[in-house]
């Protein structure tokens, strides 16, 4: 079962050294490797510990040495591909995962590693294909899989944003309207000023989420950006009411205190916009009323001038 098989074997092989800090266990393996420098299982085990400790370059070295010593160790090439990717060597990760996939074309994790490597190298089409295949091969894909696919599609170019949104919708269909998926979709819609679509996404969230003060505030911000200031005002009042409805102990937490401040800041932004909007409306109203007055005044003036001129030019009446 994929590379995990190796992890099991390694851990079973290391009962005696499975405890203690990672560094202690690495030190122990250092000692054992000093006398058995080519033992592939010890090398692979130390590589796994380095990987656990996110020392990716060291993990790559050990996995490579283990693979040199025993190319048949199960799952090792995939782990090496993963470590190579993590160490920043996307090209190597690409080559290794391609080799794994040539042997095991239904290896979902290998597709994932290759997808990430492709993406790092700017191969968007290939990355998208591998992310999608990885999801296809997973019985229970994680929210992260869909986000990675959508982000790769969005990074591919503006022409692929619809595909990215479709991927997120697929994810929501399969996993439910999860916050992380909805949030990513909103970001994509907002980036292309599709405010109505972004607002519709908020409505997909379960009531517990969309009625929370945090998401009421987000809705208010989206409405404001959509130019629906009145609705934004109402949503903002809803956010404050939801916050006030929380127990005092929750309201007093730093996160909620911060949220209250954000609501107040948003209120100021909205008030300023509403004032601007009112001033603009007044201005336009004024212009509407001023025009006839000016025209009438101009007409009166013209009439007066005409009258004066006609009086001056008419001959005096004879006595």
């Amino acid at each position: 079962m994929r590379w995990l098989t190796l992890a099991i074997l390694l851990l079973l092989a290391s009962v005696a050294s499975a405890h203690g800090s990672v560094q202690e266990r690495i030190d122990d393996l250092d000692r054992r490797l000093a006398t058995q420098p080519d033992d592939p299982e010890l090398l692979a085990e130390r590589g796994a510990l380095y990987a656990l400790d996110e020392q990716w370059a060291a993990a790559v070295r050990d996995y490579e040495d283990a693979l040199d010593a025993d190319p048949t160790l199960p799952g090792l090439e995939h782990r090496l591909a993963h470590a190579a990717y993590q160490s920043g060597d996307a090209q190597r990760a690409l080559e290794l995962s391609a080799r794994v996939l040539a042997r095991e074309p239904r290896h979902a994790d290998a597709h994932l590693v290759r997808a990430r490597a492709h993406l790092a190298l700017g191969h968007h089409a290939e990355a998208v294909a591998d992310f999608a295949r990885s999801i296809q091969l997973s019985e229970t894909p994680s929210p992260r899989s869909y986000r990675e696919l959508a982000k790769a599609q969005a990074a591919w170019g503006a022409d692929h944003v619809d595909e990215a949104l479709a991927s997120l919708r697929d994810g929501m269909q399969r996993l439910g309207p999860l916050v992380s998926l909805v949030e990513t979709a909103i970001e994509l819609e907002e980036a292309r000023d599709a405010h109505a679509a972004a607002l519709a996404l908020v409505d997909l969230l379960p009531p517990l989420v969309k009625d929370s003060p945090l998401w009421r505030l987000k809705r208010a911000e989206l409405l404001r950006r959509a130019g629906r200031l009145g609705d934004s005002d109402a949503a903002l009042r809803g956010a404050l009411a939801a916050l006030d409805a929380l127990p005092q102990s929750r309201q007093a937490t730093p996160a909620m205190t911060d949220l209250r401040q954000q609501i107040q800041d948003e209120r100021k932004t909205l008030d300023a916009l509403q004032r601007e909007e009112a001033a603009a409306a007044l201005d336009s109203e004024k212009r509407r009323f001023e025009w006839p007055l000016v025209a009438a005044a101009a007409l009166m003036l013209a009439l007066a001038l005409w009258y004066l001129r006609s009086r001056r030019s008419s001959p005096p009446r004879s006595a």
Binding site: M1, R2, L4, A7, I8, L11, L12, V15, A18, H19, G20, S21, V22, Q23, L52, D53, E54, A108, D109, L112, S138, E139, T140, P141, S142, P143, R144, S145, R147, L175, G176, P177, L178, V179, S180, L181, E183, P206, L208, V209, S212, P213, L214, W215, L246, P247, Q248, S249, R250, A252, T253, P254, A255, M256, D258, L259
Partner: protein, 506 residues
């Protein structure tokens, strides 16, 4: 009270033979396929009103004896009809004698994903069989039935329509055979209505899965300590089955060790590195994910996470958050932390308890100053949790008991701890320096506990500056929450309360 070995099949069968609704007489077969999981419950109370056409003297497809007695007749056993809530084992008079072979239970039962109105009952059988759970308010009134369609050895039945904070007895098995359980040892108490106060006890064990005498001693010490008080729920803090979390190891280290707790208290698990050796959080595959039924859609409260790798649930006045410190992305912009932000923003409950495997502070067999998994959780999860007023954080990984002072804002290594981060450096005991208190003007502070010695101890320097106490002792953690007080105790393998402290909200 507790049993140290797995329930052998013979015991299970004897229990079945003693089942009060024993089979006898001939009659028609139980209709086991007309109920869907958790929807077939009928009997006292019921749920929902009568269908619109009830009373027209025709038993329509949407009507049953449970929701329209006028049209469909009585559900009562003995009325001559084998209704959906009756089985050969619970009502042989109506359904006839059980004709199927007795089931051979090889695992469980164990209770999962409990809420105020539902619970999942799981067990394993030697041979594929249909699944049924009969449940009710007492051992002699298992008046409701829930089923899952299709023969399987891995049985998972969702029981719904229960009342909050109510004790139900249950029996389980196949619809055509005598059921197992249905005695005083097989029951579930549903969670109280979210937000209501109920004195709650939960038990936390970490790195327990050694399947040896150490583990058994820790279990026995807890069972003696809690005695008749019982356990409302319990947490497994990871490394639940050594050495690689395989199915066989889970059998030996979990199902064979805790049968008398598993069958009456819902257990909530988090993934440890040893469990993770055979499981994959991304794909939610492997024994850990096969064995546990955890919430993905907020089934027990909280915001849906979409994955069993991390989740939340409510119990009375407590909001629990489980994170995956081993195999999920802990990046602040990643899925888990994005979910966590929204989950905590939606939480209105006064108590917040978080648990995961890799502790943020430890100088036991693992060092939180140098190991990535521990550092990541400290730097990425703690700021979010503390901003939302977390009260207690439980972890394992280091095989010791380490308990912090009342802290806030300590995200660096141990050398960076300063006095501004120590809200209360006392012992937290009412009888000593005083309980840790949280007031409206002082809303921050949490205690961090490493409870990784429920199966073994592995020493270490045990000198983390954040810790009030560090012990290289076997034991487990007991938490009692009632109203505005949380009492936490560490019970060693001899039953001695080696540490205790309280948090009080003024």
């Amino acid at each position: 009270m507790q049993r140290s070995l797995s329930v052998p099949a013979v015991v299970v069968l004897l229990a079945a033979a003693a089942w009060p609704g024993g089979c006898g007489g001939d009659g028609e077969e139980t209709n086991a396929t007309n109920t869907t999981s958790g929807q077939g419950g009928v009997g006292q109370g019921g749920s929902g009103g009568s269908p619109p056409g009830c009373g027209d003297a025709v038993c329509a497809p949407d009507e049953t004896c449970a929701n329209c007695e006028a049209d469909c007749g009585s559900c009562a056993c003995g009325d001559g009809d084998c209704d959906a809530n009756e089985l050969c084992s619970t009502c042989p008079d109506d359904c006839g004698a059980c004709t199927g072979d007795p089931i051979v239970v090889t695992r469980g039962p164990y209770l999962q994903r409990g809420s105020s109105d539902s619970v999942v009952v799981r067990w394993r059988t030697a041979m594929p069989r249909e699944s049924v759970v009969a449940w009710g308010p007492s051992t002699i009134a298992l008046t409701q039935v829930a089923t899952t369609m299709g023969p399987t050895t891995e049985h998972e039945v969702s029981v719904t329509g229960m009342q909050p904070d109510t004790k139900y007895n249950y029996a389980f098995g196949a619809p055509d055979a005598d059921l197992v359980g249905g005695d005083d040892e097989h029951y579930v108490v549903t969670a109280p209505v979210t937000g209501t106060n109920k004195a709650t006890r939960f038990w936390a064990i970490g790195d327990a899965g050694t399947a040896d005498q150490n583990q058994a001693n820790v279990r026995d010490a807890y069972l003696a300590y809690t005695a008749a008080r019982g356990t409302d729920l319990w947490l497994m803090l990871g490394d639940n089955a050594y050495n690689s979390g395989t199915d066989n190891e889970y059998q030996a280290a979990v199902f064979d060790v805790y049968p008398s707790i598993l069958n009456k208290s819902v257990v909530w698990a988090t993934l440890g590195n040893h469990d993770g050796a055979s499981a994959d959080s991304g794909a939610q595959s492997g024994p850990y994910y096969d064995i546990f039924t955890l919430p993905t859609q907020g089934e027990a409260g909280g915001v849906p996470s979409g994955t069993e790798a991390y989740y939340s649930f409510d119990y009375g006045q407590i909001h629990f958050v489980c994170l995956d410190s081993y195999d999920s992305d802990t990046n602040p912009n990643g899925d888990m932390m994005t979910w966590l932000q929204s989950d905590l923003s939606a939480n209105a409950l006064p108590w917040l308890v978080a648990f995961w495997h890799h502790p943020p502070y430890s100088k036991g067999s693992h060092d939180s100053d140098s190991e990535g998994g521990l550092i990541d959780m400290r730097q990425d999860a703690l700021p979010i949790l503390e901003a939302h007023g977390v009260d207690l954080v439980l972890g394992g990984h280091s095989h010791a008991y380490e308990r912090s002072m009342y802290l806030n804002g300590h995200y660096g290594n141990s050398g960076t701890l300063d006095n501004t981060m120590i809200i209360d450096g006392g012992d937290g005991r009412a009888s000593g320096d005083g309980a840790y208190t949280r007031t409206m003007s002082s809303v921050q502070g949490a205690v961090y506990v490493v409870a990784g010695s429920s199966g073994k101890t592995s020493g270490g320097s045990l000198n983390h500056a954040a810790m009030f106490l560090s012990l290289n002792e076997l034991g487990s953690v007991v938490v009692d929450v009632d109203g505005n007080t949380m009492d936490v105790s560490f019970i060693d393998d001899g039953g001695v309360e080696q540490d205790w402290f309280s948090i009080v909200k003024m």
